[in-house]
Symmetry: C2
């Protein structure tokens, strides 16, 4: 047969925007997700693992993040000319499952899901095209008790993975309150929901920019429009100054409430509200009272506040006070997507950003109520609420707090001094493994002994076991404490080095016991 | 704005050949893989999770199974016109990683990987386009100690997940022995490896069919060819009868060895080999002696037998005798793909097939040595050996043995008798969860109490907690033992039912203790 002509060698590279995870990266994530699953399980949620591949038809074109409506999926045509694609989140597959198995699944259906999702987006630093999500949703419950439960579960999940109480807060808002603001401001007509939808879109995008543009910038966008530093003009919503003032009262609510509470604290017992402020309900009651003053004239606004009040009451009944879960109108992310309560978990401790400035860590999870989940498939509205934890963000937070489950301990390495006695070395490894000790024999070319120690070093091995011909004759093995050895090499003077040999000789029969002792077990 | 015209509803279906995994299916697989990972970890293997997406260039077109060389992948073109595809196994990505990170990774590199792979194959019953693999490989070791280690690890992995010793055997063969047979039979010329490659292909495919065609059928394929029952003719390898006899001696080796050993056992102490047969080495020594009689004239054949002998010795040194791992020339699967030792784990207990006939469960894992892993990328040969466990097959085996970790216990369900007292019910659930008890409050419409009990039933809930207005006044709750209740409903007479009420009334303050007691905790 003719030989194939040589083809150029393939490049050994992940595709652009994809990456691999090695060793401790895999185990740290797994340990974290296992703990979260434990909480979800205790709350009665069942795991669901959908296929990674869906029909494009079933996925729909709805990405949850309003900021990126045009982002794509990875798709292809199958042999029947149907378009298939990789899932871009875990919610769209849940919608498909809830419709497909609606007669078999319990209702309400509590499920959790953990796994990779794929987005055909422009990759960037720290932004990959495949990443993990970790979701929990309750499908088929219209009760805000379902929302309250998710908030409590989110709080428990953060604590179990290692975020201490006080270092996080779950903030809860309600889309209906915003709708109430829109109604009072004159850009929502309950009798004609489609009217003013353009204006509401502009308002929604404007208030989402409060952190970046400040109150003046948002005010411009609500009214006549805004010219940015580059000279680009963004059209405004065209609200009158009176209408815009109503919206701004809502936008500035978090700061106003914080100021009021701070004033009571500073004034102390002489403040008329001081006594009341000692109640754990005070902060949420103050917030709801403030918001009632804005949207009291709107039915939907009042409904939203009643829901928030119920959520606060239900959470208090379980001991989740405002130190963990708090009503906060400042949650605006996702308000365009959700239909009722929305919630967000924020880590409040400070880290240094890339320029060395202190900043609060920020959001690690978010969710809310979305009642059109299954309707696309069946025509029947099914209420649902759920949360998605940003797995990589939470891992980064744990790393920043030094709370990462870092099982980086390498194996005990049995070195090979004499190639012909491999059976002896494998016998040693076998004994260590049987005793539950992570261990391996050096399987590379044993000729250069230095390479074996370099290897043990690279594996972060705690101990090297050595038995040359002399030791074999004497019936002993040498244990080299590589951790102590590294410490001595780093810090000790030559004198100390002499007095503290990082290796011991022990009888062959004491191998397991001596290794255990050196490992501090 | 103009309204969108109504579009037809999407079908709520997984794409053809894909499926979802619910509840216990997810947890049982996870529990099994966690245990296997524990063994891999103890052996010094590190986890690796590569991206699901690779460039088609990096994947190559090499599917490991020689029977299906033309099976495809799911692929698409990215924005730079590069072809990307979902990985079809975990070995091709390992090859890419070993080349990409060759300067950073320890050498040898022991890694394990667990996760889904995708194949664009025609789906069928029990045959899906996405399925799990669980692999462990050692890259960069030419030593057969690496092969021996994988076999020992495979044995440990099977036992830890619940396959008892005696119910499985790891069988080991060597591609080099087969090459020796080919050389002796005159279809392999070591000085011109390409010569006779066509004939060798025919021989390889023929001996792989021994189970289906029997010795006569294989003999025909080795010589002049074979006409099957439908009249179709398959061309033969064209060997002379003498050459074919050599191959047949090899093919029939497993049966010949089994016969010889059985004869000694039956004859008993009067058999001249009886004394020798009591040694744990006897079976492997007999096998190797038999094979030496066939391939002794071939250098490569002798090399292969020496390797098998070393593997047996190394395994014996760790206590893995032929009751767990045995040299067996009957392993032919994958011989065309691998370059040295090959191994296969077979479950030896019997199950009933779909027609109710008893048959041995069969293979659940296989692997071997393949030394061209990284060469495609770097031009440099890197020896490697590894195993892949068939996750679904092994799960099916555990199910057949009743050893599946079936955590199907549903949550305690707190029912809602009075919608206005939801805070009380959530307080109960909160207490139960804080005590580590899986529990939930009914979140559907509470109007029909019967629906709540039906829901608890569907959730496989062990206990329903009930507190109506009367109970609340009395400060008590009712616990309904749903497991006992179901038993009574199934089997008891009316008299027994009266005497054994499956529900108790307990003080509200004793809720947690009483639930614990009823759960038998």
């Amino acid at each position: 047969m003719a030989k194939d002509k040589p083809t150029p060698r393939p490049r050994a590279e992940t595709p652009k925007g994809f990456r691999d995870y090695f060793g401790a990266e895999v185990t740290a994530r797994k340990a974290m997700l296992d703990k979260i699953a434990e909480v979800y399980h205790r709350y009665g949620f069942d795991p669901l693992e959908t296929s990674a591949v869906e029909t494009v038809e079933a996925l729909g074109k709805f990405l949850p993040d309003v900021d990126r409506p045009n982002e794509g999926v990875f798709g292809w045509q199958d042999e029947d000319a149907d378009w298939l694609a990789l899932r871009y989140d875990l919610t769209a597959p849940l919608a498909r499952v809830a419709a497909q198995y609606r007669n078999e699944l319990p209702s309400p259906y509590r499920r959790y899901a953990m796994g990779p999702v794929w987005r055909n987006e422009k990759p960037g630093p720290g932004r990959f095209r495949q990443f993990y999500q970790c979701d929990a949703d309750t499908v088929g419950s219209a009760s805000v008790a379902a929302d309250a439960e998710i908030c409590a579960m989110l709080s428990d999940a953060l604590e179990i993975v290692g975020i201490p109480r006080g270092d996080y807060v779950v903030r809860v808002n309600n889309r209906k309150v915003l709708n109430g603001v829109m109604e009072v401001a004159g850009v929502l007509d309950p009798t004609d929901p489609d009217r003013f939808s353009h204006e509401r879109g502009v308002v929604l995008r404007a208030i989402d920019k409060i952190d970046r543009l400040g109150e003046d910038g948002v005010m411009s966008l609500l009214t006549s429009g805004r010219k940015d530093e580059s000279g680009d003009f963004t059209a405004g919503a065209g609200l009158t100054s009176h209408q815009a003032a109503t919206v701004m009262t809502f936008v500035s609510a978090p700061r106003a409430i914080a100021r009021a509470i701070a004033e009571i604290e500073v004034t102390g017992p002489s403040h008329p509200m001081f006594e009341a402020s000692l109640s754990p309900h005070f902060r949420n009651a103050t917030t709801i009272g403030y918001l009632r003053s804005i949207v009291g004239l709107s039915q939907i606004g009042r409904d939203g506040l009643d829901e928030l009040e119920t959520i606060a009451t239900l959470l208090n009944a379980q001991g989740y006070g405002p130190d963990r879960i708090v009503i906060d109108p400042g949650v605006v992310r996702g308000l365009g997507y959700y239909t009722g309560p929305v919630y967000e978990a924020e880590l409040t401790f400070e880290i240094l950003d890339e320029k060395g400035r202190k900043r609060s860590f920020g959001s690690v999870a978010g969710g809310g109520r979305y009642d059109d989940l299954v309707k696309r498939f069946t025509g029947q509205a099914v209420p649902a609420t759920g949360v998605s934890i940003g797995v990589d963000r939470l891992l980064a937070a744990l790393a920043a707090k030094g709370r990462l489950a870092a099982d980086t301990a390498g194996p005990v390495v049995v070195t090979v001094m004499d190639r012909d006695r491999m059976a002896d070395y494998m016998g040693m490894v076998g004994e260590l493994r049987s005793a539950g000790i992570r261990a391996e024999v050096y399987l590379g070319n044993p000729k250069q002994f230095g390479n074996q120690l370099k290897y043990a070093d690279k594996r972060q091995s705690p101990i090297a076991v050595i038995q040359g011909g002399n030791e074999a004759e004497k019936g002993v093995v040498i244990l080299k404490d590589l951790i102590l050895g590294a410490k001595i090499a780093q810090s000790a003077t030559l004198e100390e080095w002499k007095d503290q040999p990082a290796q011991v000789e022990v009888p062959r029969g004491d191998l397991v016991a001596a290794v255990r002792k050196m490992l501090g077990q």
